[in-house]
């Protein structure tokens, strides 16, 4: 039987709050973080709202006790969430603790500033500033976060568009199961950039108002930014401190839609397969799932494809589902981890957080998303979906943790 993977720490920063407690408060109070763009310098700020983290780079650096040199916002957000997930736990066995991060843009925020400045700069200025490009690639922030936190285990970075951090969690779990680490911090970070907002604008899938996913009159997605990390541990490692166990990563699925670079197939083959594989990996059926945290971006294409794929799973009754994108915006490479954290909050708080702005059922579907906060609900298994460009689809099953099998656990219960 495959080894259990426990989650013993979570950290998050997003438009809905700068830490776990703030995000939970936003979710409970149905408070969206999507608003007018304040920090990103873009010509499109008047046109599109977005889920910006409500701190400037200078404020983030100060919060993290970092010198005010130019840091990529992807690094700053990532460090904030990673630090919270570690929770000040000692990293004495830091060689056995690693970091698998995920991002789609990496240090693009600094790169695009550099290239814009280049248009008017002399060659000398260019050579002096060019070192900023060392933070461009996706692996740069991961390396810097690990170094700052003193994690000396394996590091890597996944970039599979909007499913990146769900895949980072899968890889981290696999490394632990195969003895490459005892504990892995896994998740992702993405900062808003002109590059992405212009990119999604050319695709004409950005909503000019706050998004209303899974609604028949939905108008597209809102971009967001943020980071989330989860501390994954082996059973043996977690059993040394069972009081920290929040959840179990009981199933992972990854499949490719193999249909189109940006569009999803109408019948949702990729999403259907990723959910099916995750259920099989967890050894449960769709009828055992108590809640689905949707990918639910609010685009025409995603919501039809995902909704149909869920209906194809053949549940006796389709589990309650909702998307939290209308609180955080679509945080791209961070979304999978952000929503894994939110799924764990649902399990821990015994609550389901509702869709915002929903009014009309989609004509293609037979049920509505959750519309009001549901309280006092026992959630054993939650499925969290993340689907990306290129048909990179991933699903995770997060479960209420059973006690780790270890003497220390037996004595505490």
């Amino acid at each position: 039987m495959k080894q259990r993977i426990y989650i013993t720490g979570i950290g998050i920063i997003s438009a809905a709050g700068n830490n776990v407690a703030e995000v939970l408060s936003s979710l409970v109070n149905r408070r969206s973080g999507i608003d007018s763009i304040r920090f990103l310098k873009t010509e499109l700020s008047a046109k599109y709202p977005a889920g910006e983290v409500k701190l400037s780079n200078a404020e983030l650096a100060a919060m993290l006790n970092l010198p005010a040199e130019s840091h990529s916002r992807t690094f700053l957000l990532g460090l904030a969430a990673a630090r919270e997930a570690l929770g000040g736990k000692p990293t004495a066995n830091s060689a056995r603790t690693g970091l698998i991060s995920a991002t789609t843009v990496g240090g693009m925020d600094l790169t695009e500033e550099y290239f814009a400045a280049l248009h008017n700069a002399s060659h000398a200025a260019r050579a002096a500033d060019i070192r900023v490009l060392f933070s461009h690639d996706c692996g740069a922030a991961t390396e810097k976060i690990a170094r700052t936190l003193g994690l000396h285990g394996m590091i890597s970075t996944v970039s599979t568009a909007c499913s990146s951090s769900a895949n980072a969690m899968q890889y981290a779990a696999s490394l632990i199961r195969n003895g490459y680490a005892d504990r892995m911090l896994a998740g992702g970070s993405d900062a808003l950039s002109r590059f992405t907002i212009n990119g999604f604008s050319t695709l004409k899938i950005l909503d000019e108002a706050q998004c209303n996913p899974f609604d028949d009159n939905r108008g597209g997605l809102n971009l967001g930014e943020g980071a989330a990390y989860l501390l994954l541990e082996s059973e043996e490692s977690a059993s040394a401190h069972p009081e920290d166990i929040l959840s179990e990563l009981s199933g992972c699925g990854n499949a490719c839609d193999a249909f189109h670079q940006t569009a999803m197939s109408d019948n949702g083959e990729g999403p259907y397969l990723s959910m099916k594989y995750a259920l099989a990996d967890a050894g449960i059926s769709i009828d055992d799932v108590d809640y689905i945290n949707l990918h639910g971006t609010g685009t025409d294409n995603n919501d039809v494809s995902e909704g149909r794929a869920i209906e194809r799973l053949g549940a006796k009754t389709i589990p309650p589902y909702s998307t939290t994108k209308s609180y955080t915006g679509h945080t791209l490479g961070a979304a999978g981890a952000i929503e894994a954290v939110i799924s764990i909050l649902s399990i821990r708080e015994r609550m389901i957080f509702p869709n915002l702005n929903f009014t009309t059922r989609m004509k293609e579907l037979s049920c509505d998303p959750v519309r009001e906060v549901v309280r006092n609900v026992d959630l054993t298994h939650v499925m969290s979906n993340s689907f990306g460009f290129g048909g990179n689809n991933s699903s995770l099953i997060l479960s209420k943790a059973s006690a780790p099998k270890n003497k220390s656990a037996e004595t505490t219960r």
Partner: protein
């Protein structure tokens, strides 16, 4: 680790595909840096589709399909790509569009193709392959991460085989940036003391747990760390690889190395003190330096192990080789060791 290389596809600055004798004549490029010798893509991609694709995507798909055809597998159990910088031409194009139009009308094509997972995804779309699909982007360990993911998933029984690749493209702008950063030197500037010659390439390997049938080589060990420095720590990592392979250092016949660190001396001493009797071949002399150059190193190692001897033009040409160690060092802290054997 028991992983067999069943198929290979390699697009590199050398003549490494089609009906050519293995590394008969090393190509020394005439320009400032290494550029790939590319195939006719018609064989691999519908021209109507490839017309809008950037070079990296075409090279990726073609080399992936070469590996599959070579291994005799139509649909792999996974497609996993490592790429240090991803689709830089499309990324640069879209950045230029944004800046020159002041965020006005930009074409979506460059943006769509700029994401790092485009290579893995386009291979899947080309093959209509719904299997596990992922992309790793950890600098000089992008390919190693992809290979480890494949090895673990295969050993966990999730699949029998996987298509694993390392793909990076070089653009004139990127070469210029590396030069301005003081990282690289021109290929023609043989007197320059420091710096690497930029390169590019796209290598896919079909790896499998199935020992039967044709194999190029068995991958016996893979060890890498991104935060190791100093002779002793690097040596310890190398020893881990040897232990994983159940080999003594003196059983290693050949070290295939690539180095872009500033500390040539330390790099040298790891190899000279650790493997005094082994032949030595640099892989970056053939492909130049890029984040996933170790994938070319794996290709070279697998071909050498498979034929059992070094390329005829190398200084120890014809020497018999059973076990080879690929040592990739990038910057001062990224080290990786891969051990291949004739199975």
């Amino acid at each position: 680790m028991n992983l067999y290389i069943k198929g290979l596809g390699c697009i590199s600055p050398q003549n490494t595909f089609g009906d050519v004798t293995f590394m008969e004549n090393a190509v020394i490029p005439e320009g400032e840096y290494f550029t790939c010798v590319e195939p006719s893509y018609r064989e691999y991609i519908d021209p109507k589709i490839s017309r809008r694709m950037s070079r990296i995507i075409k090279m990726g798909i073609a080399s992936a399909k070469m590996a599959l055809a070579d291994g005799g597998i139509a649909e792999p159990g996974a497609i996993i790509t490592g790429t240090g910088l991803g689709c830089v031409a499309d990324t640069g194009q879209f950045l230029d569009d944004i800046i020159s139009s002041n965020e006005g009308m930009c074409s979506p094509t460059a943006f769509i193709q700029s994401t790092h997972n485009t290579i893995s995804s386009q291979i899947a779309i080309n093959l209509t392959c719904h299997s596990y699909n992922s992309t790793y982007v950890q600098r000089a360990h992008s390919f190693e991460s992809a290979l480890l993911d494949a090895a673990l998933r295969i050993s966990d029984g999730c699949m029998e085989n996987a298509l694993v690749g390392g793909v990076d493209e070089l653009t004139p702008r990127l070469a210029d940036i590396a030069k301005t950063m003081g990282l690289s030197r021109s290929l023609r500037d043989s007197n320059a003391a420091k710096g690497f010659v930029p390169g590019e390439g796209s290598v896919f390997a079909l790896v499998s747990s199935d020992a039967s049938g044709k194999n190029y080589a068995k991958i016996r060990a893979l060890r890498f760390a991104a935060n190791v420095s100093g002779h002793d720590a690097v040596r310890a990592l190398c020893d881990e690889a040897l232990r994983e392979a159940h080999l003594n250092a003196d059983a290693v016949d050949c070290v295939i190395d690539g180095n872009s660190s500033s500390d040539e001396g330390e790099f040298d001493s790891i190899i000279k003190s650790g493997f005094p009797g082994a032949a030595r071949v640099s892989f970056t002399q053939y492909c130049g330096e890029y984040f996933t150059a170790s994938a070319f190193g794996l290709w070279l190692g697998a071909r050498i192990v498979s034929r059992g001897s070094l390329p005829s033009h190398s200084n120890q040409g014809g020497r018999a080789v059973t076990n080879t160690l690929i040592y990739n060092r990038a910057g001062d802290s990224y080290h990786s060791f891969i051990i291949l054997s004739h199975d």
